[in-house]
Subunit: 426 residues, 2 copies
């Protein structure tokens, strides 16, 4: 049986990463090469929003060199969004609109790069398509710096943010080391609302006991003020300094984000609560309880976009999952996400792809398992180091312009003529 | 006349940079090579504090490979401090103690890497030595990411933080570009209390008009809320998004840091005022006045320690000023700082060293000149781009370990036996 003919749409969703464009390149280049199956390859502008509003662009009209450059370009070049579709009953109009747009353009393949929510959307869409007998192949492409998707060894995007985080902790840790007489304690706040994988990766920087980071605070370990203050004091006694890496989602024993504790932390003058204040909360605790100066830093979106220090391993795997999604789709697979499967036959590290039902991924979240966290709850185990170390290997290729800085892709986005004949309000 | 024989001390002061160790390597390697003049080369542990407390270590006993590795290692490997000596009258005991330590160890050469305050200390020390007829050569080695030293074209350390800042703005700017439907505005807060050179360097990222950063806020330009809000709205109308880079020292028209405005911005639950809250203040203003979501990020000390993206030009010049300080000292120069002199004979960029009196440098601060700031006061001119572009050229060499991450030097610090016979309380 030969593969169904039709157009393909690729879309990117949620927070960008350094390598989600590499996944897009894997999808796009593989699909464009197989033009006997794919009668067109479109991008959706700003993720699922672009499907709903019928803002599609023709990737076949892009300069192939620019598509290739996606492999070394951070962020989501197709555009992304945080528009969340609910279940089929609550968001049925949205799902029907997506299929209306697909039908109007003869789109038969949908490749969706994202996290849990995106896999849920893709799954529901596949269900509705089957229900109304619209032939559609839906494939999920894993993406998240948070590394919290289940049923995959790790997520494309994680290796690069891990490399960035470890290097930043190593370098800023040396800064604290040299200026401990003045800047005694430093907190580096990293992303990770529900899972501490990013904070954990900073452990890569700690080759010897005195290296930063001395303490790692994870959302998986309840934060206890007195215990934490004692840990800091212990570090100061041992090393004269203390460098802390904290996930933004660190919670107290009652499960409340410490960023929101005390009323003032994480809340601005206009009363907006915001996550991302964990570092400031920790600083205040250090200064009050331990009576030493504490600095904070928060790399923010720069951490997830840091192509300049991205992992070559991560880039290669991100491309691989994109290409594998297309290959699987051509073989008749649908309703699945491509997963990363680590070879367990010992050294050296090898990684291949597998497939997992979208529905399974949609409803699972993968926190750091207990065996990766040290007994004190403030650092990582050797088992974790064995897990994470292969993921940060190699410096991703960069293209440097004559001005000395990297060159990143920007797509021309030749928009496709709308065919549904109606606007759709989102 | 042959050069005076005696020991040399090298010390690092103030905030570390990516390349102050390269300057130290320039001093140390050049001095060790000239052992007919320098009967010993010592490091002062934690800057001038180490001289006061007689905590000196023998750099001649370090592994030469580790000294060489300083060229590709960030932060201050000798240790640094923020201990400030006042004028000769107010801090005379400190100055006399320094000379007491120097005399006890037959130290005749003092190489001090730092900014204005350090050059002031070095100058006062040279004065007192002359006054009491202690033969001493004092040479200043320029260092500051802030680039605010006068009488030098630029400062070692600046090119590297500029490269980091531009790359971070470019990458995070792409993040905002792809997720503008949700994260519409982003503020990257960078260092620079009195001068905006670091914020200015982000302009390197803006190759086309739509590239980040769209607005640059400098301490040199008074911040006016309504004008700023209008600028943000204008950006949103043009590009759908707005990426802002702000120096931590941005001030309002009355000269007050905006980080301290309104009582709440930049103040924590315990009432500590802190600089470094400019980004949060700007976020609150964007959310209140423009009514769009605004993210903040603050790379903190990671920006000044970012060897992994340091400028090769900066590293080479940092080494050059260190070596030149020793060469000048052997030629009988004292009381001077080595400066960087840009050839003005057109392209290509060439830079050599010069000499300037410590006293001149000590009392001058170099803000961004008006011709480098655009008429709207929210961006940089081509004249600035011509100035800054050569400084960020080339990626500094990195040594990567089998674990995939950089290797940075750590000195063994073989401490020298104390000889003054007394403790000194600092």
């Amino acid at each position: 049986m030969s593969a169904m003919k039709g157009k393909a749409v690729v879309a990117q969703s949620g927070g960008p990463t350094a390598v989600i464009n590499a996944s897009a390149a894997g999808v796009i280049e593989t699909a464009l090469r197989n033009d006997s199956v794919f009668t067109g390859v479109y991008g959706a502008y700003n993720g699922i929003l672009g499907v709903l509003t019928e803002e599609l662009f023709d990737l076949g009209r892009e300069d192939p060199a620019e598509i290739s450059r996606l492999k070394r370009s951070p962020s989501s070049a197709l555009g992304s969004c945080r528009y969340k579709l609910k279940d089929l009953a609550a968001s049925r109009a949205d799902y029907e609109r997506i299929l209306e747009v697909f039908r109007a353009h003869d789109i038969r393949y949908f490749f969706y790069a994202g996290g849990n929510d995106s896999m849920d959307t893709a799954d529901k869409l596949a269900q509705l398509a089957a229900e109304i007998d619209y032939e559609l192949v839906v494939m999920g492409v894993p993406k998240t710096i948070d590394n919290d998707l289940g049923f995959t060894d790790h997520c494309p995007g994680y290796g690069s943010v891990a490399r960035y985080t470890a290097v930043a902790a190593m370098e800023a840790g040396r800064d604290t080391e040299s200026l401990w007489t003045h800047d005694t304690t430093t907190v580096q706040e990293v992303m990770g609302r529900n899972a501490g994988w990013i904070a954990a990766s900073a452990a890569l920087a700690r080759r010897t006991e005195e290296d930063a980071p001395h303490l790692i605070l994870l959302p998986e370990v309840p934060f206890v003020v007195e215990k934490f203050a004692a840990d800091v004091s212990d570090c100061l006694a041992r090393y004269n300094r203390c460098f802390i890496v904290a996930g933004e989602g660190v919670k107290d024993e009652a499960g409340n984000y410490i960023a929101e504790a005390g009323g003032t932390f994480g809340q601005d003058a206009f009363g907006h609560k915001q996550l991302g204040g964990a570092g400031e909360a920790i600083r205040a605790i250090v200064e009050e309880k331990v009576k030493v100066k504490c600095r904070t830093q928060k790399p923010g979106t720069a951490q997830r976009a840091a192509m300049h220090v991205a992992s070559a391993t991560d880039v290669a795997e991100a491309y691989m999952v994109g290409a594998a999604a297309v290959t699987a789709a051509m073989a008749g697979t649908t309703g699945m996400m491509v997963s990363l499967v680590r070879s367990d036959d010992g050294e050296p590290y090898r990684c291949t792809t597998g497939l997992v039902e979208l529905a399974k991924v949609a409803n699972a979240e993968k926190p750091i398992p207990p065996e990766f966290i040290n007994p004190a709850g403030n650092g990582m185990t050797e088992a974790f180091m064995d897990y994470v170390r292969p993921l940060v290997q190699g410096q991703a290729e960069l293209e440097i312009a004559p001005d000395g800085l990297p060159v990143y892709a920007r797509l021309a986005k030749h928009m496709v003529e709308k065919k549904t004949g109606r606007e759709y309000a989102v």
